[in-house]
Every structure is written in structure tokens, then in C-alpha cells.
């Protein structure tokens, strides 16, 4: 491990890569603040830049920096304006915005920065310990297990979707898989479902889909229902926190770093769930008099989601780097970028190209440090970007989604697809159909079919399902994950009815 660390350090410390981290964090912070542009859209916009650099370590370092910056920037707009730029920072606005209203905006931003730093750093430490261990297990995996693992990943996404949402999340994941089969297929390179349209021969562009699923609906919602983007006053002062406050949030940060990291590792449960769960857990275990403060400007209530979402961001790199399976929409986009750079993440990554793996880990430490020291003094200036009037902001957001799709494919049909899918995604968003599973299914679809086909060919049929115990076990877990929520809901309902009858 020490050897790996040194390799990573030498790669990450080169002037070019240091500049990449700094640039990534700054760009991420700036754009992450704008409502409507979450980490996914920003990374999608940055992919052409990253790919044209040609060096996979530098590209991944840049994109990881953008990811951190975006989460940090998202919390800035949550706190100052109650307008979260990113779903993962919605929970930060519960207590951050009341604090800002009470004139403690500076303090809230400092707490957010420190909590993010601690969450990210502890997360990176855990990643360093767990990723090599997990990847040595993963080396034993066979294509059948990979297939089963992806099924588990997609079912977990559905299972964590929440009550009444499991079927919706599942149909979205299946829809993503269906869309992935459009174009030239895994077997014999036959074009499938192209309806004779040449532009569909290579399938849908994943950047187009990412933009259509996330950036466009957000922007349309902003048009439909304008949010007041102006803060109370532009002045942000008093960035200090006191010793007793630091002591109060220290255990929260410790707990939430661990919890957030492990939630981030689970496929489907990204920064968003980690931050909400972190907030809920801390509220429940807080003493009675502190519980009442939650939602009215509690520093613990701000530190918990901020720590958890950054730790979860780091955690979501574990399945990406060790198994090659993205657990969240953002890591799915990163995976697409890596494949474009001719790097296949997976258990072999650590053996074949250790410098990439370790450089990313080192750059996480550097990125967190950069965010802390660069952004803290710059916060009052960065927040000025929120003063950009909506009439200018929205055309630019729309323009950037169009450009992201166009630069990736250099194809004007892609833009029409973007608008079409964007309208569909907006309709789905009206009814709370989750959109991330669709993108994850889309990205996993190709790999899933490849692995499925390979194991079918090796076993000359579907016998691999019962002949390989590990595959069978994983598929059983997947089935349980899908069925458990409805079983629990039914039992809870039965119990609730029982109580009502006894009344």
C-alpha cells in the first residue's frame, strides 16, 4: 500500500495534475451553485475537455475535483438561498438556510466547508483501506458473477427508492436497459431497434441522455415556477466558529463520515440518501433540547448532511474503481469518460494501472484541501454568481445542455433527441418517477448484456445461474431486495389496520 501511495503521490503532485485539481474544484464550485446544474450535468459538460487531454489520470483527477466542487457549491446555494443546486445538498438547506436568515451565513458556510473537508478526507482514507481488499475479492469473479452483481446493483437502486416508489424505480432501470439495446448490439454487431435510422446506429449518446434526464427538466422547472434567487443581503462576514461549537459537531462529523461512506458504497444510494439519512439519524440521537433546534438553524443539523454527502461521494468511487460498476448517476458518467479514455475500471485496474487508482485517491486528499483553503476565503465573492438574473441564467443553462450533447457527438440529430427526451423526462418528473435509475440502467446495459452473453456461451445456456453458487446467491439477494419493501409495506399496513380495529 505504501508503494502505491508513493506512486499516487508522484502522479498527483505533478504540476499539471495539481492545476487540474484546482481548476476542477473551482469550476465545480462555480457551476454547482447554479440551480439546475448538478454534478452530473457539470461532469457531462466537462467530459469533452477531459477526454481531449488524453491522459486518464489527469482526466479522472479533473473530473473528481469537479465532482467535489459541485457538491460544495451546491451546499453554498442551499445555505445562502435555500435553492439547492444539487439533490445531495437539499438536506443542508434544512438548517443552513435558517442559520443564514439569522445572520450567521458566514458561520454556516464555514461549518459546511469543515464538515465537507472532514467527510471527504475520512472517506478517502476508508477508500484506501477498502478498495484494494474488495478488488482482490472481485478478481475471483466470473462474468456470471458480474452479471449477477449488476442485477443486484439495479435492484438495490429500486429497493432504496422509498415507499411506493419501488416499481417506478424498477421500470425506469428497465427502460434504461431497453434504451441501451438500441444500436449495434453486443452479439455479432447487428444493429437492433434502429428503425432504419442511421443516426441511431451507434445508440443514444449517454451525455445526451444525462443532459435530458437531469439538466433540462431542472431548467424547465425553473422556467415554470420561478424561484426567488436573490439572497437577503450580499454581505457575508464572521466566518469563525467557536471552540464549543467545534466540540459539538466533532462527534457528528465522525459518525456521519463512516455512515455516509458506507451508504455511498451501496449502489443506488448516493449522496442524496446519505445526506437525508445522516440528518435523520443525528436528529434522532440528539438530546431532547437539541432535537427541537433541528430545522431552525442547528449546527449539528448542518454538519451531518454536509459530512455525509461528501463521504458518500468518496464511497461511490469504491464500486466504480474496484468492480467497474457505477453506483450512482455521477459515477456512471465517470465510467463512460474512463471507457472513452481506454481505461476499463475493475479489479484489474489496480494491477494494470496502479498509478491511476492511487493518483485519484491522492487527488481526493488534495482536492479536499484545495476546497477548504481556496474556497473559504473566496466564498463571499463566489456567492456573487448567484446575483446573475434568471433571464440570463436560464438561456445559458439550456445552451450548455445543448452544447454538452453536441460536442460529444457532433451531430445535430442528437440535439433533437435531447429536447424530445427532455420533455419526456419532465413529464416523468411531474409524477415522481426517479430519473437516475434510467441513466444507471443505460450505462450498465451494455456491460450487463456482454457478461450475460459470455456466461451463456461458457455454460451453453442458463445453467450458470444454479451451477455457480455465488451467482445464485447474488441473484437471490437481488430478488429479496425487490420484494422486501412491498412485503414490509404490506405487514405495516396489516398492523395498522389491526390497531384501527381495536380502537
Amino acid at each position: 500500500m505504501l508503494e502505491g501511495l508513493l506512486i499516487g503521490l508522484t502522479t498527483a503532485m505533478s504540476l499539471q495534475n495539481l492545476l487540474m485539481v484546482i481548476a476542477g474544484c473551482l469550476i465545480g464550485t462555480f457551476i454547482g451553485m447554479l440551480p439546475g446544474l448538478g454534478p452530473m450535468s457539470i461532469i457531462a459538460i466537462m467530459i469533452p475537455v477531459a477526454i481531449s487531454m488524453g491522459d486518464p489520470s489527469a482526466a479522472l483527477i479533473l473530473l473528481a475535483g469537479v465532482y467535489y466542487g459541485a457538491i460544495f457549491g451546491g451546499s453554498t446555494s442551499s445555505i445562502l438561498l435555500n435553492a439547492p443546486g444539487v439533490a445531495g445538498t437539499v438536506a443542508s438547506s434544512f438548517d443552513g438556510y435558517p442559520m443564514a436568515r439569522q445572520g450567521q451565513a458566514g458561520k454556516a458556510l464555514t461549518i459546511a466547508a469543515i464538515a465537507s473537508f472532514a467527510g471527504g478526507t475520512i472517506g478517502a482514507l476508508l477508500l484506501m483501506i477498502f478498495a484494494p481488499a474488495l478488488s482482490s475479492v472481485a478478481l475471483l469473479f466470473h462474468s456470471a458473477e458480474y452479471f449477477a452483481l449488476m442485477v443486484v446493483g439495479l435492484s438495490a437502486i429500486a429497493a432504496f427508492a422509498g415507499t411506493g416508489q419501488v416499481a417506478k424505480a424498477m421500470i425506469m432501470a428497465i427502460l434504461g436497459l431497453i434504451m441501451a439495446t438500441v444500436g449495434e448490439g453486443a452479439l455479432f454487431n447487428l444493429p437492433r431497434f434502429t428503425m432504419g435510422i442511421m443516426d441511431l446506429q451507434s445508440g443514444f449518446g449517454f451525455i445526451t441522455l444525462a443532459m435530458a434526464m437531469f439538466a433540462l427538466p431542472e431548467a424547465l422547472f425553473l422556467v415554470l415556477k420561478p424561484k426567488d434567487l436573490q439572497g437577503d443581503d450580499g454581505e457575508i462576514k464572521d466566518l469563525r466558529i467557536t471552540g464549543s461549537e467545534a466540540k459539538a459537531i466533532a462527534p457528528v462529523i465522525g459518525r456521519q463520515s463512516l455512515q455516509g461512506f458506507f451508504i455511498g458504497v451501496l449502489p443506488g444510494a448516493g449522496a442524496t440518501i446519505a445526506s437525508f439519512l445522516g440528518y435523520a439519524v443525528e436528529r434522532n440521537i440528539a438530546p431532547k433540547h437539541e432535537q427541537d433546534e433541528f430545522g431552525k438553524g442547528s449546527i449539528k443539523g448542518l454538519a451531518a448532511p454536509e459530512t455525509a454527502n461528501n463521504a458518500a461521494c468518496t464511497g461511490s468511487f469504491v464500486p466504480l474503481l474496484t468492480l467497474g460498476i457505477p453506483g450512482s448517476g455521477t459515477t456512471a458518467i465517470l465510467l463512460g469518460a474512463l471507457i472513452a479514455l481506454n481505461v476499463t475500471p475493475g479489479p484489474r485496474l489496480m494491477i494494470d494501472e496502479p498509478q491511476i487508482f492511487w493518483a485519484v485517491i491522492m487527488s481526493m486528499f488534495i482536492g479536499n484541501l484545495v476546497l477548504l483553503i481556496l474556497n473559504l476565503p473566496l466564498i463571499p465573492y463566489i456567492a456573487r454568481i448567484l446575483a446573475v438574473p434568471r433571464n440570463y441564467l436560464i438561456p445559458f443553462i439550456l445552451f450548455f445542455t445543448l452544447m454538452g450533447a453536441y460536442i460529444g457527438q457532433n451531430n445535430a440529430t442528437e440535439l433533437l433527441l435531447l429536447v424530445g427526451f427532455g420533455i419526456c423526462a419532465t413529464a416523468l418528473k411531474f409524477e415522481d418517477y426517479p430519473l437516475a435509475p434510467l441513466l444507471i440502467g443505460f450505462i450498465l446495459g451494455g456491460m450487463m448484456e456482454d457478461n450475460f452473453a459470455r456466461s451463456m456461451q461458457l455454460y451453453d445456456g442458463v445453467a450458470f445461474i444454479w451451477e455457480r453458487p455465488m451467482t445464485l446467491a447474488l441473484l437471490v439477494i437481488a430478488a429479496i431486495l425487490v420484494l422486501l419493501p412491498s412485503y414490509r409495506a404490506r405487514r405495516a399496513k396489516a398492523r395498522a389496520e389491526g390497531v384501527a380495529e381495536g380502537d
Binding site: 469533452p48 475537455v49 481531449s52 415507499t163 411506493g164 416508489q165 419501488v166 416499481a167 417506478k168 421500470i171 428497465i174 427502460l175 436497459l177 431497453i178 439495446t181 448490439g185 453486443a186 452479439l187 455479432f188 447487428l190 437492433r192 431497434f193 424547465l220 422547472f221 422556467v223 415554470l224 415556477k225 420561478p226 433571464n391 440570463y392 436560464i394 438561456p395 445559458f396 439550456l398 445552451f399 445543448l402 452544447m403 460536442i407 457532433n410 445535430a412 440535439l415 433533437l416 435531447l418 429536447v419 427532455g422 420533455i423 413529464a427 416523468l428 411531474f430 409524477e431 415522481d432 450475460f452 452473453a453 451463456m456 456461451q457 455454460y459 445456456g461 412491498s486 409495506a489 399496513k493
Partner: protein
Amino acid sequence: MALDRWIALVLLGVCLTYGYAAWFTMDASLAPFMKRNPIWPSTFPKVLSVLGILTTLVILLGFEKGEAKEADIDYHRLTEYHLGQALLLLGLMVVYALCLRPMGFLISTSAFLILGSYILGERKWHIMLPVALIAAFSIWFLVQEVLGIYMRPLPGFIGG
């Protein structure tokens, strides 16, 4: 019927069409040597279509009860929001997609940015014009010169 069921109905239609294409139209054109393979290009889509149909039926028949949530936007009162602006902007995006190649990047982008803010109600031409022109030019410069991705700057007939 609530909108989420209508969506499920549409998705069911999508899955049925997809399933029809997978089950009945794909295998006929398969070369004989491919038919000896245990897995065909249509195998995975067949499985997906069945799963998709089952899942949409679960939603459509309401097997899974969810609690009603307060949505960010209530689609029943869609006309009370700025629906016209949203539709106009979507139309503008389509026009932009169609004009990008023939009109060149600089003209279409500046026009898109100006019209976009015009639709949203901005009337300060002395700010709109320079902002759009500077943005269009600097983005073109970044993409073309720094990233090296070719984008036709001017309309074809003046040699762009």
C-alpha cells in the same frame, strides 16, 4: 386516472412494441451459424420486454400503494405556471438544433441567447446584445481553438 398511471400505460405500450420487435421481427434475419449460439441478439431484449411489461402492470394495476407526496409542481394547474415560456424555449431549442449547422455557430448561438432572455421577459437590449455576442464568441473560441473540436463558425455561404 392519475397521471402516473397514464405514464405507466404509455410505458406499457413502449414495452409491448419493444417486445413485439424482439420476439417476432429479429430472429428471421439471423444467419444460420448465429442460430447455433446459445444466446441471440434478441435474447436479452426478450427478457427485458417481459420484465418491463410485468413492472408496468404492477404500477398500472396499483399493487404498490405509495403515499401521495406534495409535488414541486402540480401538473393539474400547469396552465397557471409559465407554461408558454417553457414551450417557447423548447421550440427555440428545436430551432437552434436545426439551424446550428446551416447558420453557423456564432449566429445561431447569439440568436439563441438573445431570444432566450427575450422570451423570459428581458428587454434591456444594451445588456442582452453584448452578453450574448461575447459569450457566443468566447465559447466558440474555447471549443474550437482550445479543445480543437471543429464547429462551423459562420453560415456556409460566406465560407464559414
